[in-house]
Amino acid sequence: MKILGKLTILLCGVLLMVFAMEFPNWGDPESPASTHLSPYFIQHTMEDTAVPNIVTSVLADYRGYDTMFETTVILTAGLACFLLLRIERKKIPHRYYRHEPTGVTLRMEGEKYPKNSAVFQRMDANWVPYDFVISRTCRLIIPFIQIFALYVVAHGHHSPGGGFQGGVIMGASVILFAISHNLRTSIKNFSEKTAALFSVTGVFIYAGTGALCLLFGEVFLNYSALAPILGGDRVMARSHGILVVEIGVAVAVTAVMIWIYYNLSSAGKQDEGL
């Protein structure tokens, strides 16, 4: 059976290679892919959508419908992780706390513990003391990472970037915070519910913008219908509409990244974790 599997893989690989011989040359300007649609996009993107970055306009406008569902795929992944992994936190009989000033470890029964206390620190099974250097350094860089993320989102019109990339950077900044401190601190600042609701909201911004165009009497996702709200003429409205949906994508991607991290790193308990 194993040999059969390997033979099948080999056969597939050989077939792929053989038929790839018939491909047009790499970067051939005469190939169907370069002569059929590309010239239209290169010539018309600016006058159609007022976006200098052709990739962004193809992604979020000409084929914006695909991108809406790509965002939905990400949300689906978040929901799937939640549905499969999330389990209820068990009642824990006792927990260990560390009294910071003295370094004494105490065992306390039940959940009896002064909330928001500065001197007691809860210890997990895999507890390690905060590394001062790491946590401070991360605190220093995280704001810059987040500003860069916003820049990437906003600058998708002109340079490589956009909602997906910016959202991933933003999500990574929160995950970095969770790794450099601990999962609990990060959940305290950005709760699971927030993550879940934000991920839905992000997709809703995208699909809702499309549905709004329907309400204005145009076809789904035709941002030029939104000219009265967004200001500018119908072409500028497309450009602005792209920004709105890119923000939606960024919100969704950020929140789903964080949500998936919470569930994966704590095996669904969201109590103790990395």
Partner: protein, 509 residues
């Protein structure tokens, strides 16, 4: 308003899935209600579109974001997609209504996520059916697959392993399809199905097109569980919870067969698929092996749900074989069987869901004495079973009739023999169940024990048993599905002459 129906049918479920998921954090009853109303609206859109397409005879076209043809993404509702859309939305809606209690019992605090994934799965299927863009189809296939894995994965203890297998094979299938679309794009420079149709005839001898066809169709075969690549299906479907199995089992394989028909007829044109390539005979042979294998494996199962999953595999063989006969009768039969088999599988899985809900077991012997206990459920089950066997006037008979006529016309008697063999095996399978349910006495279950014990509080006498039917909100959708089997059977002539005839290109004789 009618102009926007092709968008509304998918936008409504998508937006409601988002609201459903959010509302689950505040209220555990809202998600179910939102999901049901969204699916009902979607069903309404599908029916309206079917009526419009049938009365005007012209396919509806919808340009997403306002961009035409190859630049943007176009949705096309023709006769074939309109009828499949009605099937998808009605099956999904009926199953959700029927499974309210099951969902409530199994996903206590996660109803938001479950209902959202359920609606997203349906929306994905709707999009796959309505789209006129080969790449958009892949994006929606991703949504369907991902939400499907999640829905199946939360079944009984062995479900995660079955889902992992499904995930591996399903990903291979989807990737093959994507590779095929990539090859098509390299050869033609477009992703629009209508434009591909006009381009393929000029490129018939191109090796890239040939490989695109092979790899697309192979990917779809993996996704629909044709014989050598069927391994993921029985475990995945039988380990899933009834709520998920009742959605996924009737729809996934059937919609994949629809995609196969769409790809072969609309993208690659019938001339290329049937005349230019000499593969039809081979694929029908594979389908025959699938039918025989599925039927024999079903015969070997003790578990009722597992038996049903092997019947699904055999039915996939019916449709693929019928389509690749390449004549009008065979293709009509395959399309009609998409509709009928979705209804039959829904009825069977709803019945299985009710049995599990009432008896707690999945094995054949758990059906003992159910005719006396649940007469209505069993009547519906008998109807569904007769339809799978192919007894008139149920719908299963008519699609099988078309398939067999197609086989005779094509001179492919092996396929005809496989169909008849499979019907006989199905008869044996189901009558064995009826025998257990009708003749075998009850075991020493709680009713008896109760009757012997404290007699003053008990309504039951020894040997006599009150009817203990399934709850009404399970029973009514189930009986509706069973009635649909009869209605589909009685109107199958109308469906063929008014809808399916126009779904097949005129070039196919």
């Amino acid at each position: 308003m009618t102009r926007h129906l092709p968008a509304l049918i998918i936008v409504i479920p998508l937006l409601s899935a988002l609201v459903t998921s959010g509302s689950g954090w505040f209220n555990q009853k809202a998600p179910f209600r939102i999901a049901v109303s969204a699916l009902l609206l979607s069903l309404l859109c599908a029916v309206l579109m079917l009526i419009q397409v049938v009365t005007t005879g012209i396919a509806m076209e919808y340009r997403m974001a306002g961009w035409a043809g190859p630049m943007g993404i176009v949705y096309v509702i023709d006769h074939l997609s309109a009828i499949v859309l009605v099937v998808i939305t009605s099956v999904s809606c009926l199953n959700l209504v029927a499974q309210r209690k099951n969902i409530h019992a199994e996903f206590k605090d996660k109803q938001g996520a479950f209902n959202a994934l359920y609606v997203l799965f349906t929306a994905g299927l709707i999009g796959m059916t309505a789209t006129g863009d080969a790449f958009n189809l892949y994006v929606l296939l991703e949504i369907v697959s991902l939400s499907g894995y999640a829905l199946i994965g939360l079944g009984n203890t062995r479900a995660p392993l079955a889902t992992l297998n499904y995930l591996f094979l399903g990903t291979i299938g989807a990737t093959f399809y994507l590779l095929g679309v990539g090859y098509l794009y390299i050869a033609t420079g477009t992703l629009n199905m209508a434009e591909l149709t006009t381009m393929i005839p000029k490129l018939m001898d191109s090796g890239v097109i040939l490989f695109a066809f092979i790899i697309c169709v192979t990917g779809l075969f993996v996704k629909m569980a044709l014989f050598p690549v069927h391994g993921w299906l029985p475990d995945a479907y039988s380990q899933a919870t009834p709520a998920a199995a009742g959605l996924i089992a009737p729809l996934t394989t059937k919609v994949t067969v629809y995609i196969l028909i769409r790809i072969c007829m609309t993208v690659f044109t019938p001339e290329y698929t049937f005349d230019h390539l000499d593969i039809s005979g081979f694929i029908v042979l594979v389908a025959v092996v699938t039918i025989v294998f599925g039927s024999l494996s079903a015969l070997a199962q003790k578990n009722v749900k597992k038996m049903l999953t092997y019947i699904i595999i055999a039915e996939v063989g019916y449709m693929v074989g019928g389509f690749f006969l390449g004549n009008r009768l065979g293709i009509s039969g395959a399309i009609l069987h998409i509709i009928n088999d979705a209804a039959m599988t829904l009825a069977l899985f709803l019945a299985a869901g009710i049995f599990i809900w009432k008896t707690g077991g999945e094995s054949r012997s758990d059906l003992k004495g159910l005719f006396a206990k649940m007469p209505f459920t069993m009547a519906g089950f008998v109807l569904a079973a007769l339809s799978v066997v192919g007894v008139p006037p149920t719908c299963g008979f008519f699609s099988k009739w078309y398939l067999i006529s197609g086989g005779v016309q094509a001179g492919n008697y092996l396929f005809v023999a496989a169909l008849i063999f499979s019907s006989l095996v199905n008869a044996v399978l189901f009558f064995r169940l009826f025998e257990i349910a009708y003749f075998e006495p009850f075991g020493e279950d709680e009713d008896h024990a109760h009757g012997h014990g404290n007699s003053h509080g008990s309504h039951h006498h020894v040997g006599a048993l009150a009817i203990k039917e399934a709850p009404l909100d399970m029973l009514v959708p189930f009986l509706a599905a069973c009635m649909a089997l009869i209605v589909l059977g009685l109107y199958s002539g109308t469906i063929i002459t008014n809808i399916i005839q126009f779904a097949i290109p005129t070039g196919v004789i």
